[in-house]
């Protein structure tokens, strides 16, 4: 009955769902506490569907569950099936419905303002967005300042659409509302919460 569906192989999840997800969660916490700093998940990577970089896949396995609708900018059947199998996370009907989202940093179509920005009483309910990039270094550098950064720090993700930094500055202006961003490339990630000010490379 469900055989046709069952025959397709499915990428596996975290090798150790409990401890693996705890370590990854801790890493996300650290990344959002130290904006722009690059973290590596190589030791705890999950099995990955073809169209999702390992770090993004591992983050979704850790963070998403059946109560967190996920929005994928490039909707893809294999990724969706993998995500729903491992996390039970439903598909967000619109960006504003998403608790988590995956967008392509090189595409200009994603508007950060379209996502859930939270509300005054519960700003924490906004969307957390994974931004896929080519690499977390070697791009046009920007200077980051704000909580978690001593003085200022340099952040230079590669392969981003130029409009994204303007979007991020607009997002920043809405503080305490706004989305939080996690840049991912390969097995690496770096956090850029809404509290971080962007300067420089604009």
């Amino acid at each position: 009955m469900t055989k046709a569906r069952a025959m397709q192989p499915l990428a596996s999840g975290l090798a150790d769902p409990v401890f693996g997800s705890q370590i990854v969660f801790r890493t996300v916490l650290d990344a959002l506490s130290a904006p722009g700093k690059i973290f590596d998940l190589s030791d705890n990577l999950a099995g990955t569907p073809a169209k999702l970089p390992p770090a993004a896949a591992t983050l979704l396995l850790t963070l998403a569950d059946y109560e967190t609708p996920v929005w994928l900018q490039s909707e893809d059947q294999e990724t969706r099936r993998w995500l729903s199998f491992h996390t039970g996370a439903p598909k967000a009907s619109a960006p504003s419905e998403a608790r988590f989202a995956v967008i392509d940093g090189a595409a200009s179509s994603a508007r950060l303002g379209d996502f859930n920005l939270g509300e005054d009483r519960y700003p924490d309910t906004s969307t957390t967005i994974l931004v896929l990039c080519d690499a977390l270094e070697g791009g046009l550098p920007v200077a980051l300042t704000g909580p978690g950064i001593k003085g200022s720090t340099r952040f230079a993700p590669r392969g981003l659409d130029a409009s994204l930094w303007r979007e991020i500055a607009d997002n920043n202006a809405m503080y305490p509302l706004g989305v939080d961003l996690i840049f991912v490339a390969g097995s690496q990630l770096a956090g850029l919460p809404r509290s971080t000010q962007i300067g420089g490379g604009l």
């Binding site: 009955m1 469900t2 055989k3 069952a6 025959m7 397709q8 192989p9 499915l10 596996s12 999840g13 769902p17 491992h86």
Partner: protein, 151 residues
């Protein structure tokens, strides 16, 4: 217990396995002789399920509390996936039931034997429910009128 009218065959055996004891699920597995090679896709894991109910039985949905639930997913060498979901915290039973769910979907020689045994377990479960119901029926009130006045 539940209305079995619209169940598919797979829903039927999954329900019977979920209601079975760990021992009877294990004995079904033993009846296969050799357990087929399988890979665990989701390790047996205990979590909770939020139980929803409806106000007045049919009205607005509300959350009435959670229940423990254990699940497991396995894959046979031919790619067939077997699932198990059952109330409680029995991980061994979950893994065994997931293997059986997979075997029951294949054209294996054991399939028809297994189905016969599952029917037998289902009959036992039904017989047990029947006894419980008959004990309750013994406490059913049969009203009769003692005296009926004129005014």
């Amino acid at each position: 217990m539940s209305a079995h009218k619209h169940q598919t065959e797979r829903q039927y055996w999954m329900g019977v396995l979920a209601r079975s004891t760990a021992d009877s699920v294990a004995s079904l597995l033993v009846s296969l002789g050799t357990v087929p090679a399988y890979e665990v896709i989701k390790r047996p894991e205990t979590g909770t399920l939020m139980l929803e109910a409806r106000a007045g039985g049919a009205g607005r949905r509300f959350n009435t509390g959670e229940a423990t639930l254990t699940r497991c997913v396995v894959r046979l060498a031919d790619g067939t996936m077997g699932f198990s979901y059952a109330l409680g915290r029995d991980r061994k039973k979950a893994e065994h039931a997931a293997i059986l769910d997979a075997v029951l979907q294949t054209e294996s020689a054991h399939r028809s034997d297994l189905l016969v045994m599952i029917d037998r377990i289902a009959e036992e479960q039904q017989a047990q429910r029947n006894i419980v119901s008959r004990k309750a029926a013994a406490t059913k009130v049969n009203f009769f009128t003692l005296v009926r006045g004129d005014g």
